[in-house]
Amino acid sequence: MNEILTLARENLISPIILSFVLGLLAAWVRSDLSFPEAIARGMALYLLFAIGFKGGVGVAAHGTDARLAAALLAGIALSLVLPLLAFALLRSLSQVSIMDAAAVAGHYGSISIVTFLTASTLLTERGVAAEGYMVAVAAAMEAPAILSALWLAAWRGEGAEKPDAKAWREVLFNGSIVLLVGAFVIGWITGKDGLAQIDSFIVSPFKGVLCLFLLDMGLIAGRGLLNSRGILRPGLLVFAFLMPLVGAMLGLAAGLALGLSQGGVALMMVLCASASYIAAPAAMRVALPQANPALSLTLSLGLTFPFNLIFGIPLYLALTELIMRP
């Protein structure tokens, strides 16, 4: 417990987390501070490329093994299963419609790449290593949850738009998945030599860019929260803080079962605990247009994202520490 508090405090005084908090505060005092959309998207492209590339270099350095495949499969399975849990939990905690619950479920089965890379950064800061291929696991977990969400909506009798070939391509070759996987493969192919060529672009400035990006995310999350105060019932609040914990426990179990390193387990927890607010929302809008997008976004970006960033990550890390470094 003490450990957890120490970690949480250390986490809180990292420039990365403080930048996020600054964004929240700026939104709260209704400052007009804002990032141009192009800059926000540009930073996201940079971060995806960098984290993918570094993951690939990691795999090139330490070789790969059967665990990679197992971890990918586990990720896909978790991404498929988590929405069912989320759906059940949400329906039991609140009165939201089936359509809305299905859409929210899709968000929570998918992953938040920003939470993932914040966690990776904080791990590195603490000198905790993780498998490079966790990036590939992250990519693999983006899409399957969308399937489950559609299935949930269809199963419960509400006519979700049946995804056509175009919709499938959109989900599978989604920009962030392609960039993450592509950079991962490039990193894998070019290995340490490739990294040496571009590390002063993708390694050194990474944390700084992450600060600015999280500042922007803080602004977005804070403003979203302010605008959507009205829809927040207690049941929803409970869901937004409980679901990541449920996800994290599943991730912990999976990580331990897979025999991942401490860092790998922590990242698996983060992936399961986090909810998408980039790829999944778009897929949900296309397929479940009747669902209220403000609900999913408020829960995933407004509540679960800050929760994970500020409390979740140190908590998950402390748990792996307790369990795996006895």
Binding site: S34, M43, D216, A279, V286
Partner: protein
């Protein structure tokens, strides 16, 4: 200057549906359209702005389409089939165009 009657159709639709809409428009025989970026707005589903956003999920675009009056109905059916289940608005104004050969 010789001018020709036309309809100016303005379709404000979710950005994620842009491709589907323009495909439908072309399918309906429309010869051209123009897409304007939209930076924010408000409607029954709330207020929004693109500032600082990375997700393509939120945000709209405005598609402008000039057509000969006789093509309007086909266009509207095509557009409506896409917009129907999604948020968005469609308005039509009477216009004159130069260079009728283009429409």
């Amino acid at each position: 200057m010789e001018m020709h009657k036309a309809k100016r159709v303005e379709i404000i639709i979710e950005a994620i549906m842009e491709r589907r809409l323009t495909d439908a428009l072309i399918g309906s025989g429309v010869t051209g359209y123009t897409v304007l970026p939209v930076s924010g707005g408000s409607g029954r589903s709330g207020q929004w702005t693109r500032e600082g956003q990375v997700s393509p999920a939120s945000g709209m675009v405005s598609v402008i389409c000039l057509v000969r009056p006789e093509r309007l109905d086909g266009l509207l059916h095509a557009a409506f089939s896409v917009v129907e289940r999604h948020i968005g608005v469609i308005d039509i104004t009477d216009a004159l165009v130069l260079r009728a050969e283009r429409f």
